[in-house]
Symmetry: C2
Subunit: 209 residues, 2 copies
DNA sequence: TAGATTGTTAATCGATTAACAATC
DNA sequence: TAGATTGTTAATCGATTAACAATC
């Protein structure tokens, strides 16, 4: 298979397929179809077939897709058939919750390094790891060859931290701070801001009384 | 202004514009342009002008947009020129972090009710509120006329909770559980799953050594 | 005025869908 | 076999962009 340019919007759907397939597998199903998958996800079956066909032929006419095979293929395609080390910067309430979250492992990620610049937090143990001084962040990340970071600092520190992360060789940043980061070309950034989602939804609601 | 059908993808960008405008205002700027806004957000200036033009004429040739005026307009358009009460269901680590998060107020939302079904948590105080028994959730939400909920329960309870929320009159759900919810037409659901974002990004990364 | 920027149009670009031959 | 479902094509649909007259 020659990896030609795949639209990013397709890449964005693959993790959803993967999540739904894992769920089907938990339900002890062995095969599924683009139709079933589409119904679960609110996506048309044609779109699912087309998306998958960009990467190969994974299904069988009449039968559909073998779930565990397709899971393995999607993991390989997404590069989550291994475990990425993740650095977490900012150990406030949210950072702590992320550090304790059990849902990263088995989906390709493990938080292995925690950083903060608050002397009161440095040295604390959270889960199985110790909070490290943000002053050693660049060196530590570079030496551990970590490529993925999650950012849960206050908004006014996020850009400075991001600059250091880029210097340290980080290539993908999941940013929980409510600001748009400026990063060089080639660095991936994704954003999580619950308020953005809430605002988007209440547009469709009648004003409260 | 007649509200004709606005594409949802446009609605999804308005909160980003709002967030960037608030930031510009914090920098003590009074006016901005589609060009500046676009550079900050990684969006073309033409798109910003076109999006805004769907709702009215907010700018001036040669001058651009008056920031505080545009903020007020966007808040009005999005229905965030008031404070929505939000119910939070599931008071684990993540729920606790959300309950403490200061970023909801001033952007149109306030968590006012916490629910859990764990007897050890019911009755606890978190911030200024007491954790209520999930058994009284439907009644409480209906009587308080709450329309917006955030769901941070474990995945295998999320669908059951969502069903109750819909019964209770909730119209918008922000779901942190890593499953797709099935809800009736007209109920808005948005999803936050950090792993989905991480998986999407590492597709673009070389495999780790 | 001269420079800057809007709102809007038309063209381009890209994504989704319907349909169906192939085939398990 | 008959029924089901894939992979793929062509058509449709929708979103983005380039360009510019209008005008502050």
């Amino acid at each position: 298979m020659v990896r030609t340019d795949i639209p990013d919007i397709v890449i964005g759907r693959l993790p959803l397929y993967l999540r739904a397939l894992n769920r089907l597998q938990q339900e002890n199903l062995a095969f599924t179809s683009s139709h079933v998958l589409g119904q679960r996800l609110g996506i048309s079956s044609a779109q699912i077939r087309k998306d998958l066909s960009l990467f190969g032929e994974f299904g069988k006419q009449g039968t559909g897709y073998h779930i565990s095979t397709l899971i393995a293929e999607l993991q390989r395609i997404l590069h989550t058939d291994c475990e990425w080390q993740v650095a977490l910067i900012g150990v406030g309430d949210l950072g702590r919750a992320l550090a304790h979250y059990k849902g990263f492992v088995n989906r390709g990620f493990r938080i292995t390094h925690l950083f903060d610049n608050d002397p009161a937090k440095i040295g604390q143990r959270i889960g199985e790891f110790e909070v490290l001084d943000a002053a050693v962040m660049e060196k530590t990340i570079r030496e551990a060859c970590i490529k993925v970071a999650m950012l849960s600092t206050p908004g006014d520190e996020a850009q400075d931290v991001a600059d250091i992360l880029v210097q340290a060789g980080i290539q993908a940043i999941l940013n929980y701070a409510p600001i748009t980061l400026l990063v060089p070309d080639g660095i991936c950034v994704q954003y999580i801001d619950p308020v953005i989602h809430l605002q988007r939804m209440v547009y469709y609601l009648d004003l409260p009384v």
